[in-house]
């Protein structure tokens, strides 16, 4: 117990730096991912064949390859091209955002399609354009419906950020590795790292529950 306390006091500040990085990457990536998902979902539902096709194959490509391959492709692959260069944090954010975006796209599409077509007809019959109908009538209802699935995907994306430690991003896992190497207290460090992730994800779940209650469909 004394040893645990000692490891805890020494490692904790470093782990908190890592946590900060994890949260920073997660927040930016999830917002970007949501925007990507919304755009791809709308392309997917568009009557224009070619846009449809692009959206479908974007989703297929992301779903059909492992996250780690996407990460290596973007960080090592794209970076090896002469005309483009970015650091590991950027590569990490972009990968998580694109990856989440593909899954969000399917969630958003399903949400939009679950809204009764009478809603669209009522809005259009009042003179609203199709984009006004989407913005004021369909999406607000669809978002409420997809909140639980959305939370699920966000949690998966949060866990995916831990893989960014492989390309040297100083996130919570990478800090854990450094601390383990320095102290040899693997059991204590990884236990603490696990608890930190758990708390973070638990808070995310609480936030989602709160939003669900707040925006309950009447």
């Amino acid at each position: 117990m004394e040893r645990f306390q000692e490891v805890f006091t020494n490692a904790f500040p470093y782990l908190m730096d890592g946590l900060q990085m994890t949260i920073y990457i997660f927040l930016i990536a999830i917002v970007l991912g949501f925007i990507i998902g919304l755009i791809v979902a709308l392309l997917r539902l568009s009557p224009i064949k070619i846009l449809n096709w692009i959206a479908i194959w974007f989703i297929n490509a992301i779903r059909g390859t492992p996250f780690i391959v996407q990460l290596f492709f973007i960080y090592f692959g794209l970076n090896s091209l002469a005309w483009i260069s970015f650091d590991n944090v950027t590569a990490g954010i972009v990968t998580v955002a694109i990856n989440a975006g593909a899954y969000f796209a399917e969630i958003i599409r399903a949400g939009i399609q679950s809204i009764d077509k009478g809603q669209t007809e009522a809005a259009r019959s009042l003179g609203l354009t199709s984009s006004q109908t989407m913005r004021h009538v369909i999406l607000p209802q669809a978002f409420r419906r997809m909140l639980p699935t959305f939370t699920n995907q966000s949690i998966i994306s949060l866990k995916d950020t831990s893989l960014l430690s492989i390309i040297g991003v100083a996130d919570l896992v990478q800090r854990g590795q450094v601390q383990t190497a320095a102290t040899y207290a693997a059991f204590e460090i990884w236990f603490i790292v696990g608890v930190i992730y758990f708390i973070l994800i638990y808070l995310l779940t609480l936030l989602s529950d709160f939003l669900e209650r707040r925006f309950v469909l009447r």
């Binding site: 009764d116 009522a122 809005a123 259009r124 019959s125 609203l128 354009t129 006004q132 469909l217 009447r218």
Partner: protein, 242 residues
């Protein structure tokens, strides 16, 4: 000029021809009731009048606009054509007042105060002013339908289309909705009403159309059509529903 002119209207869903050759002219301030068995095409006919259904062939002219033409801005035409649906189709995430306010504010870009005063007056007219802050889920079917009528009226339409407005209602709710519609008719609104309420068609309608199999089988003023139907199919239908 007649406010609605329908010429040789045809509508198919794939191989299924639902409207075969519809010709009808509707005058301003007229109340036209459309009756007929289910599957006769009467709802599809109504939905062609504001192009909720793509028109396969023929011409539909609404308030001087040829809505079959691709060049016509259908959104502009729809601003003048209100529609009330069998399933109400209120927006469940918006309060009653917000339902009524949405189109005036987003489509007509009215300022909030002006639009709100008008919306409350309309809700008062349909007897639901005190429900302004309620949500659709908290209302009965009859109340929902009256809100839907107020929502359509908020755009000051010249024409109102009703698609079996009382068919999804409990019997005791039907009267309130019909009363509101009757009031509208008395005020001179041009109305096209697809209905199974023969009493309403007879009392409020200026003219009744009987449809079957994608055709207009018979059309006449209500007393003549209900009292002395000429066509065999009309007689058969009326003998079942009256």
């Amino acid at each position: 000029m007649s406010i609605i002119q329908v010429k040789n209207l045809k509508k198919s869903f794939g191989d299924l021809e639902v409207l075969k050759d519809i010709n009808v002219v509707i005058e301003e301030q007229e109340v036209l009731c459309v009756i007929g068995p289910s599957g006769s095409g009467k709802s599809t006919f109504l939905r062609c009048l504001n192009r909720l259904e793509d028109i396969t062939d023929g011409q539909v002219i609404v308030d001087g606009n040829d809505i079959t033409s691709k060049k016509t801005n259908i959104n502009k035409v729809r601003e003048n054509v209100g529609m009330v649906f069998q399933q109400f189709n209120l927006f469940p995430h918006k309060s009653v007042l917000e339902n009524v306010l949405l189109a005036p504010m987003k489509v007509s870009k009215k300022n909030k105060e002006e639009a709100k005063a008008k919306a409350l007056a309309l809700l008062d007219k349909v007897g639901l002013k005190e429900k302004a802050e309620s949500y659709p889920g908290e209302l009965s079917g009859g109340q929902k339908q009256r809100v839907a009528i107020a929502r359509a009226l908020a755009m000051d339409p010249k024409i109102m289309l009703f698609d079996e407005p009382t068919s999804a209602l409990d019997p005791e709710m039907v009267g309130d909705v019909l009363e509101v519609m009757k009031q509208l008719a008395l005020e001179g609104m041009t109305m096209v009403v697809v209905t199974h309420e023969m009493g309403f068609a007879r009392e409020v309608g200026d003219r009744v159309i009987f449809m079957d199999g994608g055709y207009i089988v018979e059309e006449n003023e209500p007393n003549a059509l209900f009292g002395n139907p000429q066509e065999e199919r009309t007689q058969a239908f009326l003998s079942k529903v009256l």
